[in-house]
């Protein structure tokens, strides 16, 4: 029930926010804030619950379309809870960042924002693969609308690209999901989309590889990993700030979550075969996108490319598939969620003030907006992996774990940390240092951060410092989940080796 309320609070809140606009244009944001606060309260309740049978904190299971063995099956374990907490927290931040920026058609904006979050929470809790796909797609439409209505100069192109990339890759995943259900039918005589049922399906190897690839493309597009990343810089640079926060902070994590939860456990052997390639792709993503980021003059595009680069560490950690690496991947997801969201908010704040994202027109802002400069400095340093902050813990653990699995890819990826320092400091130099030129805009427009903004940046800083200095609570939540996932895949691969051994 608690999971259902998590989702329905946002759905209902969205509807109320939309309806409340007709009363007063200021009501929607208040309604959205209230909905998110209720959501956070429910998340706290969820965190307090003890894990039940099999590590599932809460679950709900009701038949939905019995003809296909589809059920409305939601469940959450430590991993889901971490992701849900991140989603709710960033939801709060997103509402805060939209507070002053969105002045037109506010009701519909908060409706879309809350529905996107509801879809994301659905993705993090659905354990029926049909339901999972359902939520996976449901979160796209409101996100599309956010970009298409409140976006910037090239929003039509960006929104379309975002939607088509994710939808087409999603359809490949749908084929893979349907194939799993059908293979369950062939093996056990009935259709099922239930995750636990599908774990027991044994698939012969060439076929397993293709199905796994369907999942991988679906998730890698969302993650994104090179070569499926082309939608991201456009979507980010055109989206309004709150949209970027949700995109970078939460939506990208659904891809990584999908890999951990579905792609690898369902297809352990094929994934093991595929791992060197995936890790190579991750290393390439890290280095290539860091390099590309360095060449951007649009500050939001730059941060978008760094996102792709950082998410490479997540892919690397996931495909290393040992406990340290996975913990690292999860920590990176959480920390990157905060740091990237904060950087996008700063970039969005800048754009809101001076109406440009072009870094060549900026410079010397430190004098006029010192608070903003310090905050940017903090999050840039977090993003480049300074010890003591969350990103360092994540990336370090990911590299440590990945080193045991694939030395070459890991060594290559480690250079990403150096490139990260280069582009992060480059932003600081371009925007905040150097000489100030006011030929383009008036100095008065360059207001410093106000109290509301400082408030949520402080929240995010606190989060990053907590993750950096005392990550144990986070690791503890994920630990049992990872242990059971690792155990199940290891036994599956062991069994496979045994059978092939017997065959020889």
């Amino acid at each position: 029930m608690i999971l259902l309320s998590l989702i329905s609070v946002l759905f209902v809140g969205g509807l109320i926010a939309w309806a409340s606009e007709s009363v007063d244009a200021n009501y929607p944001k208040v309604v959205a804030l209230i909905a998110i606060i209720i959501e956070l309260a429910i998340v706290v309740l969820l965190l307090l619950q003890d894990a039940g049978d099999g590590g599932w904190v809460a679950s709900i299971d009701a038949p939905w379309i019995p003809r296909f063995g589809i059920s409305f099956y939601l469940a959450a374990d430590g991993l889901s809870v971490l992701m849900i907490a991140l989603t709710a927290f960033l939801g709060l931040i997103a509402v805060g960042s939209a507070w002053a920026e969105i002045t037109e058609r506010t009701g519909f904006f908060y409706f879309n924002l809350l529905w996107t979050l509801a879809g994301v929470i659905g993705v993090f809790t659905a354990l029926d693969l049909f339901l999972f796909f359902f939520f996976w797609e449901v979160m796209l439409i409101p996100m599309y609308l956010i970009i298409a209505i409140w976006g910037h100069e090239n929003k039509s192109y960006a929104a379309m690209k975002f939607f088509i990339f994710t939808q087409v890759s999603g359809m490949l995943m749908l084929i893979a999901i349907v194939m799993m259900a059908y293979l369950h039918f062939v093996e056990f005589g009935q259709l099922s989309f239930n995750y636990q049922d599908l774990l027991s399906v044994s698939v012969a190897n060439p076929l397993q590889f293709w199905i796994m690839l369907g999942f991988f493309i679906g998730f890698a597009t969302k993650l994104p990993s090179v070569p499926f990343h082309a939608w991201l810089p456009d979507a980010h640079s055109q989206a309004p700030t709150a949209g970027s926060v949700i995109l970078a902070g939460v939506l990208l994590k659904t891809g990584a979550y999908g890999l951990i939860r579905f792609a690898i456990p369902l297809f352990p052997e094929a994934s093991a075969q595929f791992a060197p390639f995936a890790m190579g792709l991750a290393a390439f993503s890290i280095l290539y996108c860091a390099k590309v980021a360095f060449a951007q003059s649009d500050i939001k595009r730059l941060i978008a490319y760094t996102s792709v680069s950082h998410m490479g560490f997540v892919t690397l950690g996931i495909y290393a598939w040992n406990e340290q690496a996975l913990q690292g991947a999860i920590m990176t997801m959480l920390a990157h969620g905060l740091s990237a969201a904060a950087l996008f908010m700063l970039a969005g704040g800048l754009q809101h003030r001076i109406h440009t994202r072009n870094m060549n027109e900026m410079g010397g802002f430190w004098v006029h907006a010192p608070r903003m400069a310090v905050v940017t400095m903090f999050f840039s340093i977090a993003a480049l992996g300074m010890p003591g902050l969350g990103n360092f813990v994540g990336e370090f653990l990911a590299l440590l774990g990945a080193f045991q699995a694939n030395t070459y890819a890991t060594v290559a990826s480690a250079f990403g940390l150096i490139l990260a320092s280069v582009y992060s400091l480059w932003v600081i130099q371009k925007v905040f240092q150097g000489g100030f030129s006011d030929s383009r805009f008036e100095v008065s427009k360059l207001r410093d951060l106000d109290r509301r903004e400082m408030c949520y940046f402080a929240l995010m800083m606190f989060g990053l410092i907590w993750m950096g200095l005392y990550p144990q609570p986070f690791l503890n939540l994920a630990e049992p989940v990872l242990a059971s996932l690792l155990a199940s895949t290891q036994s599956a691969t062991m069994a496979a080796t045994l059978t092939t051994g017997a065959g020889l």
Binding site: F68, V138, I141, L145, I164, M171, L172, L174, I175
Partner: protein
């Protein structure tokens, strides 16, 4: 001799026929648009209810011509309901036509008689009778606003185009039937595969005969490469006629095709599945690609219908590859979904248009979302459903097709489906994008202000919207209904 027992299952057909006759007499006595409209709508509603009541317990061959079973009754219900909806929203559409407008309802009623015969047919004679009744009425419906001074479209051109090409297609079907008759000696649908080789002509004749019939049917379903008439006829016809042609016309034809293929086991002849696969791929790719370049909503819907019929054909091919699989259900569900979503789109188009002034340019819809949010939300939902996005019935339909394809391992066709849907997203989203853009201030949009006559149309649109969402979120009742009905094929 037809006994009373035979008449009972025919009740829906008789009710609709009677409605047509009564409406005609009433028009003869007193011309009243609202009266003839109400009569037709009530008649269709009654027929739908009766068919619905008969559904669980009727399974009977009535004369050699018609089979009344769950499957045909299910589609009789859908035909009647869809026709009724079209009758409802053609009322405001023709409200201002400066010509006699009562007879349009006669044509709707007649066309429905034809459609009911088609979905119940398992005999070549009833096939031709139903098909021609439907087509003849459609010629009239398409050319209906002919004498209107303001009608800027080309109803006569559309009608003649449809007449000639449709007659050509009927010839193909008839010739194919003659060749089949030459072998089987019977006009009812019987298995060609089970024929004693001693009595039949060589297999070549059978394949040619089947190809001829399939060609004719593919024309009516506007499958590529027999689709060339579609965009022009869609564009030139008045919107209710387009809606009828696109939904009821195609659905009846698809049901007939399915029954024909199932009874004759046509797909067991090696060449036929290949031909159908090729037609499916061509339709999906052609329909979606050509829709990209259109500025006229009716033409976009025409091309998208070509693509949708292509998706449907994937399940038809699957019905051969995996006997007893889910494909028949997939076809049936997809048809229902297709009828709901395209009817919804056409209903919305026609409620903002009138016979004197059709609003069918995509650009006309800019800012609809901010001017009329409910209407726009519904139009967006219909478009997203056509694109196959979850929360709508179109997604469940597409899911069925995916399932049928996976079950039968039709990887090439599935690849075409993915590519086609990807391209399709672009033009659906483009319309959605235009709808949600801010209003152009300098462009005084020429939407007519809806009067009291449109109330019932809004009701129909709302109903279709509820069906679209309800069947997309909780499709179980329809799924089990279709599951039991499909066992009759």
């Amino acid at each position: 001799m037809i006994s009373f027992d035979d008449l009972l299952p025919l009740l829906p057909l008789l009710i609709v026929s009677l409605t047509v006759v009564i409406t005609m007499i009433v028009i003869g006595i007193r011309r009243s648009f609202i009266l003839s409209g109400t009569l037709t709508i009530l008649g269709l509603l009654l027929a739908a209810v009766v068919a619905m009541v008969m559904l669980p317990w009727t399974d009977q061959q009535v004369t050699p011509l018609l089979v009344i079973d769950q499957y045909s009754l299910l589609f009789t219900v859908i035909t009647c309901v869809a026709s009724m909806f079209i009758a409802v929203f053609s009322f405001p559409y023709f409200f201002k036509l400066d010509d006699d407008k009562e007879e349009f309802y006669l044509l709707i009623g007649l066309a429905t008689v034809g459609a009911i015969v088609m979905v119940s047919s398992n005999h070549f004679v009833s096939t031709v009778l139903g098909l021609e009744t439907l087509s003849m009425s459609l010629y009239g419906m398409i050319a209906y606003p002919l004498h209107s001074k303001h009608s800027a479209n080309y109803p006569l051109e559309a009608s003649v185009k449809y007449l000639i090409l449709s007659a050509g297609a009927s010839c193909f079907i008839l010739f194919g039937m003659a060749l089949i008759y030459a072998q089987t000696g019977t006009l009812s649908f019987t298995s060609l595969a089970a024929l004693d080789p001693e009595f039949r002509l060589s297999e070549g004749y059978t394949v040619v005969a089947l190809l001829l019939v399939s060609t004719g049917m593919a024309f009516k379903l506007s499958l590529a490469p027999f689709h060339l008439w579609t965009p022009d006829v869609y564009e030139g016809s008045p919107l209710p006629a387009t809606a009828y042609l696109a939904t009821v016309g195609k659905m009846a034809m698809a049901v007939l095709l399915l029954r024909f293929l199932a009874s004759t086991e046509a797909l067991s002849f090696g060449a036929i599945p290949t031909v159908f696969s090729l037609i499916a791929i061509t339709s999906i790719i052609t329909g979606n690609l050509l829709a990209l370049l259109q500025e006229n909503l009716k033409r976009i819907l025409a091309y998208s219908s070509i693509a949708h019929m292509g998706y449907l054909l994937i399940a038809v091919v699957a019905s051969y590859a995996n006997d007893g699989g889910i494909s028949v259900e997939a076809i049936s569900f997809y048809l229902v979904a297709y009828v709901v979503m395209s009817l919804g789109a056409f209903a919305i188009l026609s409620v903002v248009s009138s016979s004197e002034n059709e609003i069918d340019q995509v650009a006309d819809y800019q800012g609809l979302f901010w001017r009329s949010p409910w209407l726009a939300t519904m139009l967006i939902s219909m478009l997203l459903s056509l694109a196959g996005i979850p929360l709508t019935v179109g997604f469940i339909g597409k899911f069925y097709i995916f399932f049928a394809g996976v079950e039968s391992s039709l990887w090439v066709l599935l690849a075409a489906l993915v590519i086609g849907s990807g391209i399709g997203l672009y033009y659906y989203l483009r319309i959605v994008y235009i709808i949600i853009q801010p209003l152009k201030t300098h462009n005084k949009t020429n939407f007519p202000v809806a009067g009291i006559e449109s109330v019932s149309s809004y009701f129909v649109i709302a109903l279709l919207f509820i069906m679209l969402i309800l069947l997309g979120v909780y499709p179980s009742p329809l799924v089990s209904l279709i599951e039991s009905a499909s066992s009759f094929i």
